[in-house]
Amino acid sequence: MSMKKGKKILSECIRMVLLLVAVSIVAFILITKAPIDPLVSYIGTNSTLSTEAKQEIAQYWGLNDPLPQRFLTWAGHVLKGDFGTSITYKKPVIEVIKSRFLYSGILMLLAWVLSGVLGFVLGVICGLRQGGIFDRIIKLICFILKSAPTFWIGILVLTVFSVQLGWFPIGMAAPAGKLAADVTIGDRIYHLILPVLTLTVVNISEVVLYTRQKMIEIINQDFILYAKARGESLWQIVRRHVLRNIALPAITVQFASFSELFGGMALAENVFAYPGIGTATTAAAMNADVPLLLGIALFSAIFVFIGNLIANILYGIFDPRTREEAGDA
């Protein structure tokens, strides 16, 4: 049984490596084919460098080499842990990504947990009281949220809470003009609240609707009737059977939703000028910062892939049926 599981994880890892290679190739081609000149973005448009000097740099960077060779050069460096230097931030790409991922990670983690827990509870209640007034209101709100673009929700939140009510700062991760050393935890939390709120709101409708749907499926199953016939109260049925049956799909979908969370995060960050991966991506794109863009693409792929991997493994571990199949096969 553990052999099988080990094999499964191994094959997932191989898939991940293949995926990363694919992502790198595609990202590389897209970026090199884009109408941007890394040389120009490095030295600036109104540089006084001579054409020969420019040629020399291009030669040194390998910009004149054929595409496959350029890719291999880049990939070779990446394998050694060298992602190059970010043109935008004048720092090694890996450092930029590290600090930015930390900011984004906190933001995403909070929104993920909040929307996951809150959405689950709301979904369970809606499913139990299907067709009731509470269910209908929540469902309507979810549909509206689902169809609203992230940046629109972000701007709405910003307008209401920062501009109109003045409760929260307009953006950034810390008060503007304060030295990094002086920034307190309180400042950070204060600046985090609105982005987290936005991202939670963006993410929650999916969780509620999914949980609600699963919930309805489950409570219409025969085993719920049987539990009733055996004298279990509603609360006992929920505790003993419903939660047991809904927990796995709910948790799985939470991990599988990493990619959407990531997309929402990028947009929310830009609305709030929050210094995470999302804003870094925008900045990198604006500045034709090729090394940074490639690095972000790679790390984002890893992040999303890990979410899916966890989702897959969870199912394998917790569902007795898949567990058995793995043992028998």
């Binding site: 049987y226 059977h241 049956n245 007795p320």
Partner: protein, 309 residues
């Protein structure tokens, strides 16, 4: 059976169950699936309700157990030990005095170990182990999940789960589907034993041969009502001792008898004849059969037919 007058453990009078259905568009339509159905089960007695598959027999079980869906309405009454079985009363008895044996393992929680499910909310681990021993289930079985059970194991699990609290009444809905003869007989023997110890059993089945094996009385279910209830002996003797034309035809149609099939089909719940539901197929039908036909006592049984003798 002993001669003393036995009490009714379950008594159903004029039970009507309809479902509200949405037809094409938004028009609601009421579909009556059980029509003034009356039935009683006495102490320590097995009554088999026999009817063809898909004719709504399960609705009867669900009505007694309070499992009807939200769109169902019910009139008539159900009495347990002489008391009206209201939702509140039912709550008190379900799982303790009244137990349910469902059709299949689909009625077990797929993610809960079966031992824990047999224990349920009222019983104990010790009792479960004791029952597993009694029904020859190995100890390992308690740690299995429903999908790992064989058909025979599943049956015995469901029976164990039903009898943890030594119920007075068991409702069994198609208790032997998909079992080979041996396993089916095994199940029925368990039923007989329970009944001999005083438990009343209402067994709903499409298999009359099974009913012959264990039932004390057989109720014939036709188009959503019960047309005849008679001692099993009358059925075993072939058609001549039976009361209702449908039961007679039904028994005559059996392979071991004349194997003469009855022409026509059961009427659809949305398109019922007035008066006797069997009239369109009855050789003895006459004008009077279009009126309301009540259940009446006749010889040792009951029948819903004006001509029955």
């Amino acid at each position: 059976m002993e001669e003393k007058v036995l009490r009714n453990v379950l008594e159903i009078n004029d039970l009507v169950v309809s479902f509200e259905m949405y037809q094409k568009g938004f028009r609601k339509k009421k579909l009556e699936v059980l029509h003034s159905l009356s039935l009683d089960v006495k102490e320590g007695e097995i009554v088999a309700v026999v009817g063809s598959s898909g004719s709504g027999k399960s609705v009867l079980a669900h009505a007694v157990l309070g499992l009807l869906p939200k769109n169902a309405t019910m009139t008539g009454n159900i009495k347990y030990q002489g008391e009206l079985l209201t939702p509140k009363e039912r709550k008190k008895y379900l799982g303790r005095e009244i137990a349910f044996i469902p059709q299949s393992v689909d009625y077990l929680d797929p993610l809960m170990k079966v031992g824990k499910q047999v224990v349920g909310v009222y019983s104990s681990k010790e009792r479960q182990r004791q029952l597993f021993e009694k029904y020859q289930l190995k100890k390992e079985v308690e740690d299995m999940y429903p999908f790992q059970l064989s058909g025979g194991m599943a049956r015995r699990i469901l029976i164990s789960a039903a009898v943890t609290e030594e119920p007075k009444l068991i409702i069994a809905d198609e208790p032997t589907p998909g079992l080979n003869v041996e396993l089916a007989m095994d199940t029925l023997r368990h039923f007989r034993k329970l009944a001999d110890n005083g438990t009343s059993i209402l067994m709903i089945t499409h298999d009359i041969d099974l009913a012959f094996q264990v039932a004390d009385r057989i109720a014939v279910f036709y188009a959503g009502t019960i047309v005849e209830i008679s001692p099993t002996g009358d059925f075993l003797a072939g058609g001549k001792n039976l009361r209702h034309p449908y039961s007679k035809a039904f028994i005559t149609a059996l392979p071991q008898n004349e194997f003469q099939p009855l022409k026509g089909t059961q009427p659809y719940a949305g398109d019922l004849p007035e008066g006797c539901l069997f009239a369109p197929r009855c050789p003895k039908a006459e004008i009077a059969c279009n009126g309301k036909i009540a259940m009446r006592d006749l010889r040792e049984g009951k029948v819903r037919c004006i001509h029955a003798t």
